[in-house]
């Protein structure tokens, strides 16, 4: 029994052996060198330039974002300019007179009038439906360009139209690009 106890006392487990590894520790001299080297390497990473492909990607993505924003603004502006012209072309008293669409519409209307019991009322309704609810009478634009290097910051465009008693204003700003478009009608 005594031998058994003695052998148990002398028994060494694998866990105990592994814990001896905790004693493999570097001294203070090692840590002083370690700290100095680490600080140097961290400073190097702070001032180190990104690889060329990262720089290119960053530049390209920045340009794409800028170009997309300017492009979107241009499309929006173009639509705003084109829209009244399109609407105007359907008017009976427009500068170009009646066009094909209007003539077709008028023909259909006349057919309808001929078959309708109240001709006068139908024509009146037709005319009132064809007149647009607004018209652009003036377009004014202003661009304050402080240069591409300034990332298009203080640019502005304005479209305005005034129709007698009705006065309203819509404005759209394209966030981040510094562009703002105002539609007054």
């Amino acid at each position: 029994m005594a031998d058994t106890n003695n052998s148990h006392e002398k028994e060494v487990k694998v866990e105990e052996l592994l814990r001896l590894k905790r004693a493999e520790r570097p001294g203070q001299v090692f840590w002083n060198t370690f700290d100095r080297e680490l600080h140097q390497r961290m400073l190097q990473t702070l001032v180190k330039k990104d690889p060329w492909y990262v720089q290119v990607l960053r530049g390209v993505s920045g340009r794409i974002a800028q170009t997309a924003a300017v492009g979107a603004a241009a499309v929006f502006l173009a639509l705003m300019v084109m829209r009244p012209a399109l609407v105007d072309s359907t008017r009976p008293n427009g500068a170009n007179g009646a066009n094909g669409a209007y003539l077709a519409l008028q023909k259909n209307a006349l057919d309808l009038v001929n078959s309708a019991p109240s001709v006068a009322a139908a024509i009146s309704d037709l005319d009132s439906n064809l007149i647009p609810d607004y018209q652009i009478e003036a377009i004014s634009g202003s661009i304050t360009d402080s240069g591409y290097a300034n990332e298009y910051s203080p640019d502005s465009f304005e479209l305005a139209s005034y129709d007698r008693d009705v006065y309203a204003m819509d404005s759209v700003s394209l966030g981040g690009t510094g562009l703002a478009i105002t539609l007054v009608y």
Binding site: E9, V14, A23, G27
Partner: protein, 210 residues
Amino acid sequence: MANSGSVTKPIFPAQEKTLTERDLDWAVVRKVQAGNVGAFDQLVQKYREHIFSVIYNMTSNREDASDLTQETFIKAFQAIARFRGKSSFFTWIYRIAINHTMTFLKKRNRRRFISYEKIDEEVSNSEIFERLTANNRSEKGVLVSELQEKLNDALQKLSLRHRTVVILHEIEGLEHAQIAEITKTSIGTVRSRLHYAKQQLQSYLQDYIT
């Protein structure tokens, strides 16, 4: 083992990793994220020895371990702006260290250079060495260096996954749950790997295990 002093004292007691500890680290991380770069040094001072210990025991090379530990902190520093605190900083930095070391060891492949850290002299006076000396009838100084070599060899024979779990549990003193979080595995997997690894080590170190 009761009188084995600093040898048996866990380097990194799992119980100390409370919420408070996590919060303290998080506060320092927020400082660094706010631009106080110098605050990162607090994290380096706190974790450098633990990280070095893990990497050293994984590589069995003190120079590699030193380089990899530095690189671990540099990686953490570079990525700290993206650290959102979903896990503790402790888990995060351990994960970086282990992943980085595994990548290094996989690249190093068959080239194995062993460079040991000097073993603490206290250990030769520990109770376990008294028993080992009695069992092996060897001179204590010889036994220390011989056992150090055998232990490192045995660890290097384990697969990286098994080695990592053994190091984190038996040497670093982390709990199964903490290891599972670091290695992104289940607790069951950790236990299973630990069991297998210990069996392997027992066969490699049978000359010392009575």
